[in-house]
Amino acid sequence: MTSSTDTTATLAPSRALAGLEHAMRITDDVAPFNVVMVLRLDGELPVATLRQALDVLQQRHRLLRTRILAEGKSYAFHFEGTPAIPLEVRDRVQADGWVAMAEDQFQQRFPLTEGPLMRCLYLADAQGGDLIVTLHHTIVDAASARHLLSELLDLCSGVTPEHVPAQASEGAVPAPALYPKAFSGAGYARALASFMRRQMADEFSFRWKSRGIRKAPIAATGRCCLLPVRFPAELTDKLIQASRTHRVTLNSILGAGMLSAVQRRLYPSPLVPLRHVIFADLRDRLRTPMAPTTLGCLLTMFRFTVMVPKAGDFWRIASDIQDATAVAARTGERYLAYSMSPGMMKMMFAAKAFRMGATALSYSGPIELPETSGTFRVTGLHAFAANMTLGPEYTALVRLFRGELWWDIMYMDSDMNETTAREIARDMQLILEAAC
């Protein structure tokens, strides 16, 4: 199925990976850089219906018909010649068996040179099933992932998603080609010089203040483990109200909770500088904004140091995160970080001397999915993004889903065991309850 405005005839059959896409492809050589989403379903979703829906979905999205080939020292998307989206169906043996299966998806590398960059595993029993959708991170971000799932659910319930146009030219233009004027040409060079000065100042300050403090271990190998946690509606409401009372974003509040809990369990010093990573969207900030219905990895990241005291003022930590975020946003760090990321990843893998951070948080805000879709009902939604031994120690993708905060936490088994990961999650909840 293609739209009436199909322009594939005029589109280049390939284009070079740029910025964060390139960084993610480099990272894939170290650890498969996958995004894993899980839809928990009650009721019947016939496999034939799912198969058909995946085929239509692939026809609607050019990036689902893509593979990645090396071109000199770089890589390029090639938009042709990929097989159908693989679908594997297994019996669901245990209700929470999906967690181990989702963890396995992080170990399985995509055949990048053959494509496609999406696959599905459906764990089914008489009551329903868990649909595990895995994509390579180069073609999806949080904004487009939620729309892709919504589109897939529509197709599975026999509805043609008219509100989502078929994406005939998807992936044709890399994000840097659409940067605003202030971050192109000479403007980019000026902003980059300023960005590098800030990064170096932060690096020196971090090293100075971290003297004598625990250093996160760097293991040769490690497995990415998953821990799904939900905050009850009552606490979620309190956090939203506290956000408005204190005029601090929910993203900053949740980040402060994470940092405080990680400090408590992993960094026993009274005052610790911790690196925190948050993610921002480029889609609305391009010369031609890109709709979230268009697949692509158009996220970027802000990384900064926060001083975290053992027993300090929670709201000061949250404000510090918010202030650091505001500076990064105001100075255009979203564009610079996106473009600089391949160099940063190469340096990190070559040196193997430092971790990206202590914590990373991706807060997606409210997510809407239809509660019922034809013969089945969506009862849960989880999403995880791959981590590695040089990545942050404690990472979470968080969303507001049906009135509750759903935390999907990732940690490396080389850093901590499940007990410690659960203790940090429990501390996080206690700290946030106490704060509001």
């Binding site: 939203i240 956000s243 408005r244 005029r247 601090v248 974003t249 929910l250 993203n251 609305d284 900030r285 904004p289 918010q322 975020t325 505001a326 946003a329 105001r330 805000g365 409210p366 997510i367 809407e368 507001l400 009135g403």
Partner: protein, 79 residues
């Protein structure tokens, strides 16, 4: 208090430090609002009009006009 589109535009402009935003301007893409600005706009509208805006409703808000319609929906004020 009566909620008017012009007043919502003025409020958004004040919070963002923008002169004369238009109803169809997108708060983030066109007016450069960051998440903290969106939070400040929400709190200001809540205080000004005595309304409560649900977090989940905000997912469909892109433009100043969307925000006005949401505020209207959440208020008992005559239109």
């Amino acid at each position: 208090m009566l909620i008017e589109l012009d007043d919502v535009c003025r409020t958004v402009g004040l919070v963002l430090g923008r002169h004369d935003p238009k109803p169809d301007d997108r708060i983030q893409a066109d007016l450069g609002g960051e998440s903290i600005d969106v939070l400040n706009i929400i709190v200001t509208l809540q205080q000004k009009y005595g309304i409560s805006l649900d977090e989940a409703d905000l997912v469909n808000v892109s433009t100043v006009r969307d925000l006005y319609h949401l505020a209207l929906k959440r208020s008992d004020a005559p239109t």
